[in-house]
Amino acid sequence: MDWVFLSELAINGVLTGLLYSLFAIGLVLIYKASSVPNLAQGGLTMVGAYVVLALARDVGLPLWLAIPLAAVVMFGLGFGIERVALRRLAGRPVVMILMLTLGLDIFLRGTTLAIWGGTSRSMELGVSYDPLFLGDIFISRIHLVGAGVALALFVAFMLFFRTRTGIKLRAIADDYMASWSVGISVERGVGLSWALASVVAVAAGVIWGEIQGVDQALSLLLLKGLTVAVLGGLDSILGAVIAGIILGVVENVGADFLDPLVGGGSRELIVAAVLILTVMIRPHGLFGRHDIERV
């Protein structure tokens, strides 16, 4: 057993996992306010990356300006989605809203394909590709940066959900009708959660765009992000972070063992197995809230 290699796999697994968490935090934000898994989060992430590129390349802004500006644009888009599409569905069965987010994902993918085409573009953040050495262990710098962003967002949102606005969002997630009854604007709350999730999508889009290039494949992050969110419990940000780390490590280390046996491609299998087993064994995930039943 090569311990150095194994710890390298594990550490990079943790970092990759945190990048999944970065994506999954967006899913959790929307789930917390509207109890719907947002199937359009992949599309939003891709749009976030394209908007950054459009501002940086096509308009010619520096990246440090293009990224926050893109966050503002996406914040507005998130609110817009609630206003135009979701508001009409308030009070309808969850499955309708789920289908709407699926439609939205397809719409976003189609729109980006029409505007920016299918060729992959690079983000060029300026993070060096030379790996960092920790003893004998290789660590990718961009993964380290992304993991840092994920943790920073995690802390920021943990604090946010203790503020008055954050508490109102959690109240909305608990009970729409009761929220209306005390004058909480459910519509604005759901809009805010979409806006925040769209900002998270910019962060995820920039980091993942740097790693794998900006193209349609960015929207496929949804599958891993959803797995992480489900494992973490869908409405727990802490869960999303821890589940991301778990999935990253299991996937990285597991694939190293399994790939020689099955001849490659076992990563997807591991992700699928985690998703299916979570739903079967622990549907509320690691940290998800249960519906309270008093005896």
Binding site: I167, R170, Y176, M177, A178, V182, G183, R294
Partner: protein, 269 residues
């Protein structure tokens, strides 16, 4: 003369008709007046239209795809028939909906915070909370546990406290006694009476438990099948023979049930 009456009534509901899904007529021309600073009860059996009446006043009908198809509601002289629910809360109408419905995954303290109106300062909110904890001392020791694990009585107290944070002028309660032990009902009704007296808060109470409700209100309306069939002071209602038989539980034998049915039917027509 008419204007004088209007000024005394904080809420006035005139021949209001409510349609659900554009077809189902839930209430058929209900008129209810709530004089300022008084406690009024809406009595009636299951499905009579009491909850719908409250939802028409609070604007929560819309969430259930209902709408007011006829009549008008005025609050402090302002027509609110078309106002959105949020606006009505801002104006001072708060509706404690049926079944307690606290925010289960929040603590009681967070439940109160969640209801804070926009722009309420931290110090005002804390003062409101202190006042509410003083009315409901049972909530103090539980204020940082999860609201979903509170007892039924505590949850009802929290739901009322949460409504009080919005600083209502008219508090509407939908079946606050539902599923609670008689001593708790007495305790909660006692507190409601105290709040009504201390702060001049007008209260509109929907109850199936007519016996308990008529002890604390000044007037009552009896609603059957979407219509007001009787209106009077609490004393008058308590001594009415029909009310005694159907709602206060006079000791009748089974044989009389046959008769009940026909008398009930006369009200419906």
């Amino acid at each position: 003369m008419q204007e004088k009456v209007e000024a005394q009534n904080i809420l006035s509901m005139n021949s209001v008709e409510v349609l659900y899904d554009n077809v189902i007529l839930a209430i058929k021309g209900v008129s209810v007046q709530v004089p300022k600073g008084e406690m009024i009860a809406l009595l009636g059996s299951n499905g009579a239209g009491k909850s719908t009446t409250l939802k028409a006043i609070s604007g929560l009908l819309k969430a259930e795809r209902g709408r007011i198809s006829r009549g008008e509601i005025t609050f402090q002289g302002t027509d609110i028939t078309e106002a959105p629910a949020q606006k009505r809360v801002e104006m001072g109408i708060c509706h404690v909906i049926e079944g307690r419905r606290v925010f289960e995954h929040l603590t009681p303290d967070e439940n109160l915070t969640a209801a804070a109106p926009r722009g309420m300062s931290r110090s005002t909110l804390n003062a409101e909370k202190d006042k509410i904890y003083a009315y409901f001392p049972r909530l103090v020791e539980r204020k940082n546990s999860q609201a979903g694990y509170l007892s039924g009585g505590e949850q009802q107290m929290l739901a009322i406290g949460r409504a009080l944070v919005t600083q209502p002028k008219l508090l509407m309660l939908d079946e606050p006694s539902l599923g609670l032990a008689p001593f708790l009902v007495e305790e909660i009704f006692g507190i409601l009476q105290k709040i009504n007296k201390d702060e001049g808060l007008s209260v509109l109470l929907v109850e199936q438990n007519a016996l308990a409700a008529l002890e604390i209100v000044s007037q009552g309306y009896l609603i059957e099948n979407g219509r007001v069939v009787m209106h009077g002071t609490a004393e008058a209602l308590k001594s009415n023979s029909d009310i005694q038989e159907f709602y206060l539980g006079g000791g009748e034998t089974d044989f009389h049930n046959v008769k009940h049915y026909s008398r009930r039917k006369r009200w419906l027509s």
